[in-house]
């Protein structure tokens, strides 16, 4: 069989697999969850294959890039099927964020800026959901906006999710009174700056087109002095740094932030300098926050998969280095796979 035929067969097999499960989904098949034993067997198989990769690497040359890819794919996918939970600790910056929100009196107005787009949603969306739910549980008023075009849409998704949660099911939240989505405005950090003098000038209408003054929650809000707390979910520029430089430094808002894990190291200096009340960094931060607020969500669910993927990366670094030292440092330096 030529490679081409094999490739076509593989595509056909994948298509059939997907069709079967899709039809199954429509017909109401149950979701799959591995039992403890199966999970353990799967884990041991994964570990065994890592050992196999180690042996291969020590013996000869590097394994092919594509095998690494395949392995990562499997190691991230399988844990999503496992029914095991894991322990989650809490870091001080997460606790301080929680405490600063917890300390707000009922009725306080919280501004949440959604400065990210769907690619960063796996990390930031769980934070957004947990944070909004916490606000509603504490009877705080929530105002959302976005410095990124797709931000407000993420805010709406988060609201939907929160309203359908177990804890808040019985309660009614009225748009315009309990929460408002102001939408997106172009201008990056200048939006924050102009909001310092007037929210209305930046958001003459909200996301759905209501006039600013028709919304009871915000019509009396002139600028940051009427806002009790700001929370920023950021995946890059414009984001937390701009909120700190303008919102905190110029207008003195209380700011907490949720960041992608990539952003977080750059935010630590500001956290250290006391310009932030707290910080959620990456999926881990989301899971910790979910635990603190007792609002379990996707952050907690993805954690196992996340831990696996970290283990795989750590294992690959280790394998690479062990092989590097065992097979003589020189030869591997030039080593090029494929």
């Amino acid at each position: 069989m030529s490679t081409k035929v094999k490739e076509i067969l593989a595509v056909v097999a994948i298509t059939i697999f997907c069709l079967v499960f899709y039809i199954g989904k429509i017909n109401g098949w149950e979701t799959i969850e591995f039992s403890f034993t199966v999970s353990m067997i799967v884990i041991s198989l994964l570990v065994l294959s890592l050992v196999w990769i180690l042996i291969l690497t020590i013996k000869g040359n590097l394994i092919e890039r594509r095998i690494v890819f395949l392995f990562v794919g499997i190691a991230v996918t399988l844990p999503l099927f496992m029914g095991i939970s894991q322990k989650i600790s809490s870091s001080p910056e997460v606790v301080s964020l929680y405490e600063s929100v917890d300390a707000l009196p009922a009725g306080s107005k919280v501004l949440i800026s959604f400065d990210y787009d769907p690619p960063s949603a796996p990390e930031l969306q769980p934070m957004a959901e947990a944070f909004i739910q916490l606000c509603f549980e504490k009877n705080l008023k929530v105002i959302t906006m976005g410095l990124w075009p797709q931000g407000p849409q993420q805010a709406n998704l988060a609201f939907e999710k929160v309203f359908s949660s177990e804890k808040l099911k019985g309660r009614k939240f009225e748009y315009g009174v309990d929460y408002v989505n102001l939408g997106f405005q172009t201008g990056n950090e200048f939006v924050v700056q102009r909001m310092g003098s007037s929210f209305k000038s930046m958001f003459p209408t909200d996301y759905v087109g209501n006039a600013y003054n028709d919304l009871p929650l915000v019509k009396n809000i002139k600028n940051f002095s009427n806002i009790d707390y700001c929370f920023n979910l950021s995946a890059g520029f414009p984001g937390t740094v701009e909120w700190i430089q303008i919102g905190v430094d110029r207008f003195g808002v209380l700011l907490g932030a949720g960041n992608t894990a990539v952003q977080a190291p750059q935010i630590y200096p500001y956290l250290n300098a006391g310009q932030l009340t707290g910080l959620l960094g990456g999926m881990n931060g989301a899971a910790e926050f979910e635990k603190l607020t007792e609002i379990p969500g996707k952050g907690t669910k993805f954690m196992l998969s996340q831990s696996f993927s970290h283990m795989v990366v750590i294992a690959f670094v280790l394998i690479g280095n062990v092989a590097f030292f065992m097979s003589g440092r020189k030869s591997m330096l030039e080593g090029n796979e494929e």
Binding site: Y22, V76, L80, A261, V262, G282, M283, F302, H310
Partner: protein, 211 residues
């Protein structure tokens, strides 16, 4: 999401992933769709947000905006070879504006603020608090102090990295490496969660295999 959009999203998702195996027609098709649609997306966004929203709507109130439009027009003169050199004017404007803006911003936020932040007492948690730091904080303070100094030494251009200076630069590069290592450690985490998000889509939203 209805059936069609789900399958479309899944088709495109798998098309991109197939690049990991090798360059193939599926990926090429996905790539072509991506380029065409996203370029169109940006034209429309630029048109409505920048041209319409920032210029057309406000041109009456703020006549200075016409200067911007004039520069923009000069840009288009590139298409006419004879007067194409005029398009350097808007370029010159942009370069001047970017330089001027970034010069002061970076001067303030990167130099002044960072230098000031590094001026701190070594045995205390803050200025004027007395001896109140624990051992870990004191060590951290010393590390920040020496790390920042030696890191700066590394960047010196007008001195060969030799002798005592060389030692400083060497220590400096160690600190830079720790920073990069830390960034790497943190970044890995983020990247993995993106993949988890996609896999959740494929096996959860699309195929309904996971909850």
């Amino acid at each position: 999401m209805d059936h069609f959009s789900l399958w479309l999203a899944a088709f495109l998702t798998l098309g991109i992933i197939s690049f990991l195996y090798k360059d193939n027609p599926w990926y090429k098709l996905t790539e072509a769709i991506f380029i065409g649609i996203s370029a169109g997306y940006w034209v429309v966004t630029l048109y409505w947000d920048n041209f319409y929203g920032k210029f057309w709507v406000n041109k009456g109130e703020e006549p200075t905006l016409w200067i911007g439009a004039f520069f923009g027009f000069l840009m288009l003169l590139r298409l006419i070879p004879k007067v194409g050199w005029l398009s350097r004017w808007p370029l010159a404007f942009i370069v001047g504006a970017t330089s001027g803006l970034w010069l002061m911003n970076y001067f303030a936020s990167n130099i002044m603020v960072q230098v000031q932040a590094t001026i701190m007492p070594l045995f205390s948690t803050g200025y004027g608090t007395g001896f109140d730091a624990d051992f870990a904080t004191i060590v951290a303070n010393f590390v920040i102090f020496f790390g920042t100094l030696t890191g700066l030494v590394y960047f010196f251009f007008s001195k060969e990295h030799k002798g005592a200076f060389g030692v400083g630069a060497k220590i400096g590069i160690f600190f830079l490496m720790i920073t990069f290592g830390a960034s790497f450690g943190y970044t890995v985490m983020s990247r993995m969660s993106l993949l988890i998000g996609r896999i959740d889509f494929l096996f959860g939203d699309w195929l309904g295999m996971i909850q």
